[in-house]
Amino acid sequence: MLPIVLLSVSGIGLLFLGFQKSRTLLLPAALLFLLVALAANFYDWNKTYLYFNDMLRTDNLSMVFTAIVLGSAFLVIALSTRFIEDEEAQPAEYYGIIMFSLVGAIMMISFENLIMLFVGVETLSIAMYILTGSDKRNLRSNEAALKYFLMGAFTTGIMLFGMALLYGSTGSFTLEGIAASTVNPQQGLSLLLYVGLLMLLIGLLFKVSAAPFHFWTPDVYDGAPTIFTAFMSTVVKTAGFAALFKLLSISFGGVYTFWWTILAIITAITLVVGNVTAVYQNSFKRMMSYSSISHAGYLLIGLAALGAQTKQAIVFYSLAYSVATISAFGVLLLVAQQRSTQTLSSTGLANEGFDDFNGLARQNPLLGFAMAVSMLSLAGIPLTAGFWGKFYIFSTAVERGQIWLLVVAVLMSAVGIYYYFRVIIAMYFRDGATEPIRVSPVYRYILLAATILTLVLGIAPGLLQGLF
């Protein structure tokens, strides 16, 4: 609960800091506020509390998810140094909105009542609509914002209708209240409850961009400013999966047999669509957005095979995915700014193709190494965190005996290796521009930290075990 209060207050504080002429204070202040919130998050460690009329519950799991979300936000904000120099940008507003969106993410992680889930989802989404459209003069950013907004508001309506139906059939908005009326799986679910659950799931699956509700993802991730794409693909996804896990395990764990088939089919579609479409992309940024769809698919395996291992698997996977994604987008930011094989056209098409990475590893060994490690981690190669993430996720499916899902997942991760290695091949084996990219110290430290974290988790995955 403390981080919610702290982040709300510091968001308003950052908006006031924006009145100052000088922008130098903004970035350190935002980072400091995040660190304070991260520290305050662990204040209740090993205790379980209910807050706000039993609408929020903080336990170790929710604190770990909150830490992942705040940590990702810290890394992303640290990479946003360009806003301070850019005349057009409004860093105070951006940082303020990021703080508010984190409040929404924490609500989604620790909700105990569907009202809180709705408010959290909307707080996060509305903030993301603004950030997506923050590049006001860029048509691509405008289009992405409008698409995201219209589709997001549409699925919010569907999600709310689902919640209303759940309320109608169970008479309660609390997770325990709903669980109490679904304990008896023999008599089946009433139609209202079943339709309500499906509509609520559609709303949440949209937010984590699972196919067939993924159509917004490539456009929005592609059109949004890269730094906010990094934020969206990590924070929104982690919070969404925390919410899905909590909802399904607490409220609907007793009626697992009724929903797992649907979720497993959605999982298989997501894996195939995400991975196969990513192969055909020429823009690195667009490839990353399809890759984020495919990672939503891997995370969904853990939910479709809900069991004792799921909790740990999802936490580990979202941590590994977030760190690798942020490091990849960090390198992309530098490359897109400083390499210009194609000039910035009137359509606002940026230099984000695979060709822009040609020969990167020769001029900038550090950038090449960071990118290579994050690609290997996303592809799930051993000695990186991504390998263990996939390992834990796959073992949940084995435990439930869902072998066909496992076969699909393994085949699709083999497809994934192809498009992740395209970047590595471009960096190490192709000739490109001769001029090295200037890397500021902040970038160097953040990329190094992300790379080291990926490798450490890949070598010693047990570090995270037993934490919660």
Binding site: L146, L160, A164
Partner: protein, 114 residues
């Protein structure tokens, strides 16, 4: 569906069965969905989304008064407040698009493809 506590529900509401409310709000909701899927003007799509949200509000109120439980009505207040926030952001985005393209036809937005 039988009302749980007869005393607290006004007679007028009881004369209409709960199923009718369910059908009415489902119909409104479906009209909203059709509007979103078929119209090309961003403002009209937006209005259809508001229609969907208000169908949900109606349904929640009906369930809430038949169950004599205030939680549903509290939720409606939250939905109205959040919808207002969403409207302000949504209109701002539409105005931003209009300034750049002089149009709010969603069919013209095709810069981002595959």
């Amino acid at each position: 569906m039988q009302p749980t506590q007869d005393v607290l529900i006004p007679d007028v509401i009881q004369q209409i069965p709960l199923t009718y409310y369910l059908i009415l709000s489902t119909a409104l909701f479906v009209i909203g969905i059709i509007g979103v899927l078929t119209r090309r003007n961003a403002i009209i799509i937006f209005m259809s989304i508001e229609l969907m949200l208000n169908a949900v509000n109606l349904l929640l109120i009906a369930f809430s008064s038949y169950r004599s439980d205030s939680a549903g009505q509290v939720f409606v207040f939250f939905i109205m407040a959040v919808a207002a926030a969403e409207v302000s952001v949504g209109l701002a985005i539409i105005v931003m698009i209009y300034r750049n393209t002089r149009s709010i036809d969603v069919g013209l937005l095709n810069k981002l493809k595959w």
